[in-house]
């Protein structure tokens, strides 16, 4: 099922992730290790950017990959690519960790986590390799106004709401909303142009 997301687009080649995920469904340890090697730097970088603390970030990354190992057969993988889904799960976990101060409230590693929705790739999306994709996203973020970039980063990496960002930046709520929306639309256009 998961494999279909990578094979149903005609000319696209089957991604290495698709092959590895199909083996992961068979509890192939080697496939899991290759997936980890392919994506752990991206996931850990994201979580570290959110939590700003190495040991806690490693705990979260461990949780994320164990979820992947244990619940691979539960993914509705027919509609969305793997990496956005993995990053969404990692971000949700990291923000949970950031928000919940009490250790008791934190999810335990062995508790089944609520899995994120499948991230559906838009029609214009093409399978760029990870390196090129990262370079493009960073370039687009750098092209935003400082206010747009700051507001989006506060929302994405710190999990703040519009009102919280407005209070943090001491700017009107409507202005913050505009910064975020316009920044995301510019990012969207930039990615569309790239592909």
């Amino acid at each position: 099922m998961f494999l279909a997301a990578f094979t149903s687009s005609g000319p696209r080649e089957v991604s290495p992730d698709a092959t590895l995920l199909s083996r992961l469904l068979q509890k192939d340890v080697s496939a899991f290790e290759q997936l980890y090697d392919r994506h752990s730097r991206l996931v850990y970088g994201l979580v570290l950017r959110i939590l700003q603390q190495a040991s806690t970030s490693e705990e979260v990354v461990q949780d994320v990959f164990l979820q992947l190992w244990r619940n691979a057969d539960q993914y509705d993988s027919s509609r969305g690519p793997f990496v956005p889904w993995l990053c969404t799960m990692a971000r949700n976990r990291a923000l949970d960790h950031l928000r919940l101060k009490s250790e008791r409230q934190r999810r335990r590693e062995d508790q089944p986590d609520e899995l994120p929705s499948v991230v559906v790739a838009p029609e214009y999306e093409k399978a760029l390799d990870e390196k090129r994709r990262a370079e493009r996203v960073r370039a687009l973020m750098a092209s935003l106004t400082p206010q747009q970039k700051k507001a989006i980063e506060l929302a994405y990496f710190e999990g703040l709401s519009h009102s919280e960002i407005a209070a943090t930046l001491k700017e009107p709520l409507g202005t913050v909303k505009s910064w975020i929306r316009n920044g995301l639309l510019r990012l969207k256009e930039g990615l569309r142009a790239t592909t």
Binding site: F65, L66, V83
Partner: protein, 266 residues
């Protein structure tokens, strides 16, 4: 009520998770109506937001993290790959069952044996107690016999003949030692009447004083008896004579019958 265009303005922020609660609730209510355009827009916005992950600088986690993960994964993979076999008969070797059975038999035997040993110990203790009582009794009898022998053998003991009131009757003999007491012996003594015993009396020298009651005895089947009075109620000097009368069982405080046997203390 907002139309789709107004909701569309919220969709990127919704995917980002930055909408305030009221706006988020309103948008989710609209999405719940099944609006296809807004639903598709949400999907695209989620993908767009997911791309922000690449904005974070990549970083390498420690090798220890990978080590921990792989160890956990390998352990879980091994446990899942092993079939969950119910303990079959063949999974436990016969010798183990035999060992368990032998252990069970041994346990039952041990419990039974323990009970038996406890019972034997209890019986042995009872026998030991009985022997101890018997031994003490024997020692007391031995002590009395020794005392009787000392009284009878000691030259300082005073011999007292107790003659029967019947001329044909037997004669008893007593020996009195001033320190060790009095021994009275007799042979061929007729048994007292039923429910009666023979009681020894010490007759004081002082006129008008009543006879002093002493010990009681029955002759054995052969008509013999030996009576030891370790602590006579009167001293030899103050005693005029010894006498034995037949008295009811339990004895009497004073003579209720004439003396059967009597003899003066010289």
């Amino acid at each position: 009520m907002k139309n789709c265009d107004q909701f569309r303005e919220l969709i990127e922020a919704y995917a980002l998770g930055s909408l305030d609660p009221e706006e988020r609730a309103a948008l989710e209510a609209h999405l719940a109506t099944g609006c296809p355009d807004c639903s598709k827009a949400v999907e695209e916005a989620r993908w767009l937001v997911s791309q922000l992950a690449y904005a974070a600088p990549e970083a390498a986690p420690s090798d220890m993290l990978k080590g921990r993960l792989m160890q956990t994964v390998r352990t879980e993979a091994q446990s899942q790959s092993k079939p969950q076999v119910m303990p079959a008969k063949s999974s436990i070797p016969f010798w183990l069952w035999a060992g368990v059975a032998a252990l069970l038999v041994f346990s039952v035997y041990s419990a039974w044996n323990t009970h038996r040993l406890n019972d034997e110990i209890r019986q042995a203790n009872e026998r030991a107690a009985a022997l101890r009582d018997e031994h003490e009794k024997t020692e007391q009898e031995l002590a009395l016999a020794k005392r009787e022998a000392m009284i009878l053998m000691d030259p300082n003991s005073v011999k007292i003949a107790l003659k029967s009131g019947d001329a044909k009757g037997p004669q008893l003999e007593a020996k009195w030692h001033s320190e060790w007491g009095v021994v009275v012996m007799g042979e061929n003594i007729p048994m007292p009447s039923p429910h009666h015993v023979l009681q020894l009396w010490f007759i004081p020298k002082k006129a008008g004083e009543m006879p002093m009651p002493s010990m009681m005895i029955r002759p054995d089947a052969n008509g013999k008896f030996v009576l030891l009075v370790s602590n006579p109620p009167e001293s030899m000097d103050a005693t005029k004579a010894l006498a034995i009368s037949e008295e009811p069982e339990g004895g009497s405080p004073w003579p209720s019958n004439p003396p059967r046997y009597s003899g003066g203390v010289s």
